[in-house]
Structure formats: C-alpha cells, structure tokens
Symmetry: C2
Subunit: 614 residues, 2 copies
C-alpha cells in the first residue's frame, strides 16, 4: 500500500480522520487529483453538521456521498484510458472493480474506542451494556443487535432457573415435560411481543423510529444496462427483472433441492453412525465405547457447521450471480438489492433451519426416541456453541495479532523511530478483516432460539447453556467489534427488520412442535387409554386455540408503548402548531415542502426531536 495520505504529516494532528480510501500502490497522480476534486465538488453543495452529528453519522454521510458519486462527462478515469466511464456510472464502483480503489472504510477513534471498550466489556460487573454509547460509535443497527442479545439473554433467565431443578430432579422422568412445553409456548410468544416494544423504545430514543426510507440511488455496486428509473425519471443502470426471475427459477431451485437432498443424506449417514456406535457399545460396554456414543453427534455437529458455512457462500454466490455486486446486506424498498436481500435471507434461513433441526424433528416424530433426542440436542448445542465462539472471535483475533506484529515491524523498518501514530493506525486497520454485517450474529441467535423454543422441554438445560453462551457472546462480540474487525459503517435502523419475522415464524413452529411433543408424551397418552383418535383431536384443538390466542395477543399488544405513541403524536402536533403560526399560504407551501422531513431523515437519520429544540 502506498502511504498516500494527501495531507502533510504536520496536518495530521489537526483533524480527525473518519474514512480511509485505500488506493492501489501504483495509482496515477492525475487520477488521485481528479477523484479528490470530484469528491470536494460534491461536498460543496451540502452543508456540514459540525458537532451536531456523531462520528458514526458523519461516516455514514461520507459513505453515502462516495456511493452516489457518479460520472458526468468523463469518458475514462484520468490516467487510465482503459477504465471507461459513462454518464451516471458509479465512480467508486468502477474504481473498485478495476482494482484502483482497493477498499474504503471508516477509521476507529482511539479515544472513543478506549472509553467504549472500558465501559462495555473490560470491567466484569453486573450491568447493562452501554447501548447509547455503542449506538453513538457503531450506529443504530449494531446497537439494536446488542440490545437484542441482552434482552434475549435476560428473557432466558426464568426458563434457565426453572430448567435446573427440572433437570436435576425429573431428569429421568421423560414424561414430565408437558408442563415445561406449555411454559415454552407462552414464553416464546410473550418474548417477541415485548421485544417489539423494547425495540421501539430504543429506536425512539435514537430518533430512528419514524424514519422513512429515502430515495436511494442505485447501489454503488450495481451495474447493468442503462434504463429509465420510473420514479426519478433519470437514466440509470437497470437490471431486467424478468431475467433475474428466470435465473432464479431455472438455476436456484434445482440447486436448493440438491442442497436439501445433501442435508438429508448427511443426516442419514449420521443415523447410521449412531446405530453403529450403539452396537459397538452394546457388544462391549466400557468407558471408551461409552464416549464413542457421543462421537457421531459431535461429528455431525461439526459437519453441520461446515455445511452452514458452505451454504452461506453458495447463497451469496447465487444471489450475486450475473450481477457482479458486493452484497452489503442493506435493505431498501425500491431497488433491486431488497429483492436480493430477501432471496439471500430465505436461502440461508431455510438451509440453516433444515440443517440444524431436521435430525431433531426426525428423532422426535419419526423415531419417537426422547433419549436420543435429548442426547443429540445437547451435543449439537454444546458443539456448535464452542465452534462458533472459536470461529467468530478467537481465530480472527489470533490471525489479527500475527498480522499486527508484522505491520508493526514493517512500519518500524520503513519509518525508523519517527512517531506516526495515525499512519500506523491506518496501516493496522487496513489489514483487519471486514465485518460483514449483523446477519451471521442474528442467525446464530435465531438457531439458539430455535433449540430453546422447540425442544427445550425434553432437555431443560438448553436454556442454561444458551444463557451461558450468550454471556460470553456479549464479551466476544464486543471484543471482535472493537479489536478484531475494521470499524463498520454505521447503518441506521428502526428495528431488527426481517429477523423479527424470522423469530415469529420460529415461535409459530414452536407452538406446533410443543403441542406435538405433548401429544407424544406417555403422560398425556395415559389419560386416553382407549382412544388415540380422541387424544389427537383434543391436542389438535388445543393447538388451534393456542395459535389463535397467539395471533390475538400479537394483535392486541400495541407494537409501540403508549407513552412513546403519545410522544410521537405530540411531536407531530407541535410541528403542525408551529406551521399554523408561521405559514399563512400553507396550501401552496405544503405541496413542495411535504417531504422536508424526509430529506432531514435521510441525511441525519432522525426525525425532528433534536432539530426542534435547537
């Protein structure tokens, strides 16, 4: 990398760098000059919000500016006659695809990071996470993830507390799980309803609750034939929708079926191994063969993790196939990336679900072997937790340390003993891995939620294990955000988005599964000794009532707490009153100022709470 900071070293101390653009080693000087002029050119039109915005917000705005930097009349990048441009082409995208611009990322603020990491995970004491500070440093999207993680962990505590005595005293009495299944049912419904209200409270505090989507320009990473955007009327690269749909139906569907087949095949191999281990143990029962009993489950758990990883890459590949676009997992309602995101999401969702839960469903409802179910669940849960923690934080950290040392040495060799903290920091962070968004973190929590809500009645310790996992998860995730990965661009968010839907779907599946488990229990069967049909009909009727109750509950509990509803309404009323006072010919004004607020939201990602009082 060229140490291409365009400010002299003496200037370095006088400004706080926010975002780094890494250009290729041999970038032509004229290209650099042109790019800087174009960026400055663009900035002249906007205003700066000195002091008014947090670092994370400034970085988000810079990212937006860079992403929407489009070629005007340039035919090619100055100095690179082969790197062609046409009007409307994303400059950043073209530079990236041709390898001139290697990457761009926001820089850590060492002071803030130190303060944040100290209050977040460096002191070990019982306290909530500093979510407001996290939001200030990393943006709302990440803060909401950590808020959810904390909420989920706390919500599991009652279940864990009930689970321990259950496990200790009723452990061998396989039939006493009916009560626990009923508890699971109620818990999983209430859990999600209360979270919606918590999430609204967070988002209100951060000013993103009533945020509306701005008219996003086509994504920086997007290229294709030029067409007219029906909304803006501008010429823009457009990807033909019919082509994409054809692609999906013709290629993705067979691929999905193939993958599902593979999942089931692996499951069957696991059952064969299981049978083999049991037969070996039965022939010669000793300590060694006793341990052998757990080996198939552990191997299966490891294979599942690997398959999940492979499927994730496959999903990413399939989503981007035909459009060389970097998937950044951001939603927006009017461009193609939303479609892609949903496609990717359901792809991953479905595979992970089948992968992790297919064997458990098979054991529970086809084999009806509750002992094996318990053992399999425990092994899967523990193995995947250990693997996850290692893969997610410790392995990257170890690699990171090795790289850091190398960078440090190289810097010393090049610079001698001169103190250049900023340059070294840039060098160090350039080498860090990129955080790919909260997708993987939510997915992990989603699978844990599945284990707990679906099957924890047969293995009450599941909740305890998940609580323990999540406590370490908070620390390891905090650590990885602060020290393992590059600082991510902040992403404004009003809620956890499509994950809310995913968790709700899981909780519906949980109702059905728990009812079926109740129906299978010999405790319930004992009540209907003569008529199995009657028992099934009663269980099905109860299940329907529970599902209906769940929907009514979701409908009756308001998603936004009353006091915040009132605050939002008051805010709206106040603006209306202010309007009445100031504007007399409001009919005309209201036409073209209608979306003043939108503009505001778009730039500063908050409604007018702040603005109103300044």
């Amino acid at each position: 990398m060229q140490l291409g900071l365009s400010v002299s070293d003496s200037d370095v101390s006088s400004f706080t760098p926010l975002v780094v653009l890494e250009l290729a080693d041999d970038t032509k000087a004229e290209a650099i000059t042109w790019l800087l002029n174009r960026i400055r050119d663009k900035q002249k039109n906007g205003g700066d919000g000195e002091g008014f915005l947090s670092d994370a917000e400034c970085q988000y705005i810079i990212k937006h500016e860079l992403d929407t930097l489009r070629a005007k009349n340039e035919e090619h990048v100055p100095g690179y006659p082969k790197v062609k441009l046409y009007p409307g082409k994303s400059v950043v995208r073209r530079l990236q695809s041709k390898g001139v611009l290697v990457q761009y990322f926001p820089l850590h603020n060492k002071e803030d990071l130190k303060r944040l990491s100290f209050s977040w995970y460096k002191k070990i004491k019982l306290s909530f996470q500093p979510l407001d500070d996290i939001r200030h440093y990393f943006g709302e999207g990440l803060a909401l993830y950590f808020g959810f993680l904390e909420y989920f962990t706390f919500a599991l505590v009652p279940m864990a507390l009930i689970g321990i005595p259950y496990y200790l005293f009723d452990w061998e009495d396989y039939d006493k799980y009916v009560l626990f299944a009923v508890f699971n049912l109620v818990w999983s419904t209430v859990f999600l309803e209360v979270w919606k209200r918590c999430s609204a409270t967070f988002a209100y505090g951060w000013g993103t609750l009533s945020r509306k989507k701005a008219f996003e320009e086509p994504r920086a990473g997007f290229h294709g034939a030029l067409g007219f955007n029906p909304i803006t009327g501008r010429e823009e690269p457009v990807y033909p929708s019919s082509k994409r749909q054809l692609r999906i139906y013709l290629v993705s569907v067979p691929f999905v079926l193939l993958c599902l087949y593979l999942s089931f095949y692996v499951m069957m191999v696991y059952f064969d191994m299981e049978n083999w281990a049991i037969s070996v143990y039965n022939e010669n029962p000793n300590f060694g063969t006793g341990i052998l009993l757990f080996v198939p489950s552990i191997i299966y758990a490891v294979v599942i993790e690997i398959m999940n990883l492979l499927y994730r890459y496959a999903a990413e590949f399939l989503t981007n196939w035909g459009e060389p676009e970097i998937l950044l997992f951001s939603c927006s309602s009017f461009n193609n990336s939303y479609f892609n995101y949903c496609f990717f999401f359901f792809f991953c969702f479905q595979f992970n679900f089948v992968n992790c839960f297919a064997s458990l469903f098979y054991i529970a409802f086809v084999m009806q072997d509750m002992v094996l179910l318990r053992q399999s669940l425990a092994t899967l849960l523990i193995t995947s937790q250990i693997l996850n923690q290692v893969m997610e934080a410790f392995l990257p950290y170890w690699l990171q340390r090795r790289r850091n040392k190398k960078v440090h040495k190289r810097m010393r060799r090049v610079m001698g003993d001169k103190e250049l903290p900023l340059l070294e920091q840039v060098q160090l962070e350039t080498e860090m891995n990129t955080y790919l968004g909260t997708f993987d973190d939510y997915l992990e929590q989603f699978l844990l939620f599945g284990y707990v809500s679906l099957f924890s009645c047969v293995y009450p310790l599941a909740a305890v294990l998940v609580v323990l996992n999540n406590i370490t998860e908070v620390y390891s995730d905090a650590f990885k955000m602060c020290h393992v990965f590059k600082r991510p661009f902040s992403e404004p968010a009003a809620n956890i988005g499509v994950w809310q839907l995913a968790f709700e779907t899981m909780s519906i599946i949980a109702v059905v599964t728990n009812c079926a488990l109740i129906g299978l229990s010999s405790q319930v069967k004992a009540y209907f000794p003569e008529s199995e049909t009657q028992m099934i009909l009663i269980v099905v009727a109860i299940e329907h009532v529970l599902l209906a109750f769940k929907f009514i509950l979701a409908f009756v509990i308001p998603d936004v707490p009353k006091d915040i509803q009132v605050k939002l309404a008051k805010l709206e009323f106040d603006s209306l009153e202010a309007l009445k006072k100031r504007v007399s010919t409001h009919l005309y004004m209201c036409t073209y100022l209608q979306h003043a607020n939108r503009k505001c939201d778009h730039l500063y990602d908050r409604p007018c709470q702040k603005v109103l009082h300044c």
Copy 2:
C-alpha cells in the same frame, strides 16, 4: 319545524345549499343570531375551495367545522340561561342534547342525484357501477363499499358456475365435495389478497391512499370531566380509561356470556323442533308434513335475524353506556371513539358469527349429518336474504312514500300554490331516515362470505344464491342511498378498515372448517380403511401446510400494485426535488413545516396529487 332558512326566498335560487341544521320550533332569535355569528366567525380563518372540492368534500368540511365549534367565554346559550356552556364545550353537542338543534344533515343535489341514479341503477344493462360518480356524490367510504360489493359478486361467479353442474349431477352424492372444498380454500385466500390491491387502486385514484389521520378534536358528541390532553396540552373533556375498562369487565362480560347462552339455547330449541318435525313426517309422510320439515329452519332463520338486530342495539347501548355519545362509527386512532368502535365491532361480530354459524357447526361436526346441514344452510341463506332485502330497502321505502305524501299535502296547505322547491326538498329530506353507516351492509356481506366459504362445498348452490342476492343488493342499496335515506356525510376512507381483518379471519376459519369437512367425508375415509388416526394426522398436516401457504401468499403478494407503488414514490420524489430547488436552508424549514402535508390531508382528504398540478 320552523321554516328557519335565514336567507330570503329570492336568495334561494342563487346558492346551492349543502347542509341543513334543523333547529327546534321555538328557538329564540338571539340564539340563532349567535350561532350564525359563531359559525361565520370560524369560517373567516379558513379559505374556501370553490370548484376545487366536490360537494361531498365541502359537506365534510362543514361537518368538521360544526363539530369543532367550541364554546369560548359564553356562560350559556344566548336566550337559554339554563343551557350552560364552559370553555371548550362542544356547542353543537350541547345544542343537540338540549333539543335546540334537532339534527344537521347534508342536502341532496337534485341535478347530480338524477344523473347519478340514472347511470347507477335506472338503466338495466351489464356494466360496472359508476364508482367515481358515487365517490363524488357520497364520498370514498360508501364508494368503497359498493366497489367491494361489486368485486365480491364478480369473484363469486366462477364458484357459482362450478356449483351449478356440481349441484345438478352430484347433488345426491354427498361425498364428492372434497374437490369443491379444496377450491373454496384457494378461492377465499386469493379473493382477499386481490381485493387489497383493488382497494389500493381505488383509493389511489381518489387520493385517499396515503392519507394520514389528522389530530382530531374530541368528538362533538363527547362530554365528560375536563382533563389535559397529553398530545395537544389543551384542556378537554376526558373519559377516564380505567373507569371504562372496569365498566366493560364488570358489566359487558357477563352480558356477553348471557347472550351467548341465549344463542345456544335457541339453537337447542331449533333442534328439538327439527326432531319433532321429522317424527311427524315419519308418522305420516305427505306433502303437508313434507313442507313442515322446512318450517323449523325458517322460524330459526327469522329468530336469528331478530336476535342479530337486538344484539346490535345491545352492543350500541353497552358501548355508549356511561357516556351519552352518539355512535357514528368513525375511527380515529387517538381518541376514545376508536376503542368504542372496536368494542362495538367485536361485540356485533361475535354475536352474529355465533348466531348464524353455531347451528351449522353443530350439525356438521357434532351431529355429522350432511343432509341436515345442506337443508339448514339453504333455508338459512334464502330466508335471511329475503328478510334483509325487505327490511333494508322496501319497508323503509314504503314508510318513506307515506311520509312524503303527508309532507307534500302539508306543504300545499301551508304555502298554497307558491313554488318553493328548495323548502319542500328540505322538508322532505328532514323526515327521511338517517343512514347509520356502512356497518350493517358490510356485516351482511360478511355473513354471506361466511356461508359461502365455510359450507358451500356441501351445498354448491350457495354461491349462486349469493350472486343473485348481491345483484339485487346493488340495486336496492343504490336505491336506498339515493331515495330512502337522508344523504349521509361523506367519510374519507383508504380501505375497508377493520372489515378486511374480519374477512381474513373468516377465511382462516374457512381453511380449518373445509379441512375438517374433508376429513369427515366418507370418500377420504375410504382411503384409510384400517387407521383413523393416520387419516386425522394426514388431514391435520395438510391443514397446517395450507395455513402456512396462506400466510406466505399474503406476505408475498404486495398489498399495493407495483405501478401504484411507483406512482406514489414518484410523487414523493417530485416533492423532494421541488423542495431542493426552492428551499436552501431546509434544515430550519423542515422542522416546522414537517406536517404541512398533514394539514392538507386533513382538510381535503387527499395527498398532493391535485395540489401538485394546480
């Protein structure tokens, strides 16, 4: 009635009267002067939208003006020392409750009405209803009802067409209804999804689609202790919420249980009568006793209609009990009437559902007698349709004609031969009945939808009967709106509101019911001769898959058609662009102009489509 038009007769021809306020016969002159001054006073602040607004919209604005007319410093109504006022008290409400103001209603426009009724129902030919004209004359709420009626009727045609051959050829083969049940399942889901899109298309065309609720003043009819509104900070009559809830739980719940008990009791009496009729027929089977077989069903149908009517009054009474408020069935999210409306809605909904369908469910699933089910369904459907048409249109019309003649005679007696068409029109319309809103009309359609989607597989002619009923319903409803009732105040609406939810609930119940009917059919039972348990499990599994499919379908099909999404986004984008050009210091402006659009919506009930191009 005093002929208290405050304009001289010569003026009458020069203006189009919109709304009539009927004052008591002996109203003091000073009270009239005061009221007129207060109304004019209020109007000075607003502007008139001559030509820009339709009659219906002007009437809606006048109603809003009247409803929000509140006392200032007057201690009592001039001329009426006993009719006390306090600051903030609704003037219209006080005048109404003390009998000074008898009623106020919008006046028909004879010219427009003639044109409308000609294009609507006077020519009998195959064509769609003139929904735009209906909306122009009666407002969006009613136009949406007629749009829904038309859509529902057309949607039933394929089912009716399949039903006729089914009925003719398989009529006696009770087991061949499986295919029809599957068709019902798919139909009821697709029906509602497509309607959402139709409704969005209508509402977009009428400019109400993206309408937001304004900050409504407390309803005119509302009075109670004064308190502070947390949103506006104004002193307003507030009804303590805890008191209302206590009232509901202590009084309404026992009452509801009592009513349900009564419904079931009547049902049991019906079954006794049915058994008696069958025994009489069996003893002596001839034509007379053959007809006797249908008598219990017919009596039961009539009793159901009467009970529905009684419950409706009970619901209205319970809803308003403790707060002497006229229920006008308008929703608004931040005042108490919304709560009331929902309470009233679920009350009526529940009773009508239990009343109409309890006996059918009992016959289908407890008695499992498909012949009786078919006979009972047919009698219920036909009797209730005939009763409805008579009660809804023909009886009021007959009463109306009698009154009209009386009024005409009286006018001739008082006025001699002077031609005073306006005064006579006012006199005639004053005597007309008041249309109580679309509630009863939607309820009727809802029950018909229930008959068709729940049980039409055992009686395929149901759809045919409903189509026939709805064709006459269009004519009788159109006739009653134009000639039987007073013209109603127009009510802006973006969709059919809580009825969408009601219809969707019914379609979910339909899935469950149809699956159960399939499970009961001997055709299906024949496939599983040895194991009933297996059959039940398979039917339950299929039902779950169908329900899941239904939810996925509802999630995947966008509620607003793509082209309208694009148009709305374009509108928003255009305002943003206009804003960019005009306003430079947008940050400040956007604060207090944020809700300019709201104000606009509030007055003219449409977003800026029109305004933008004027």
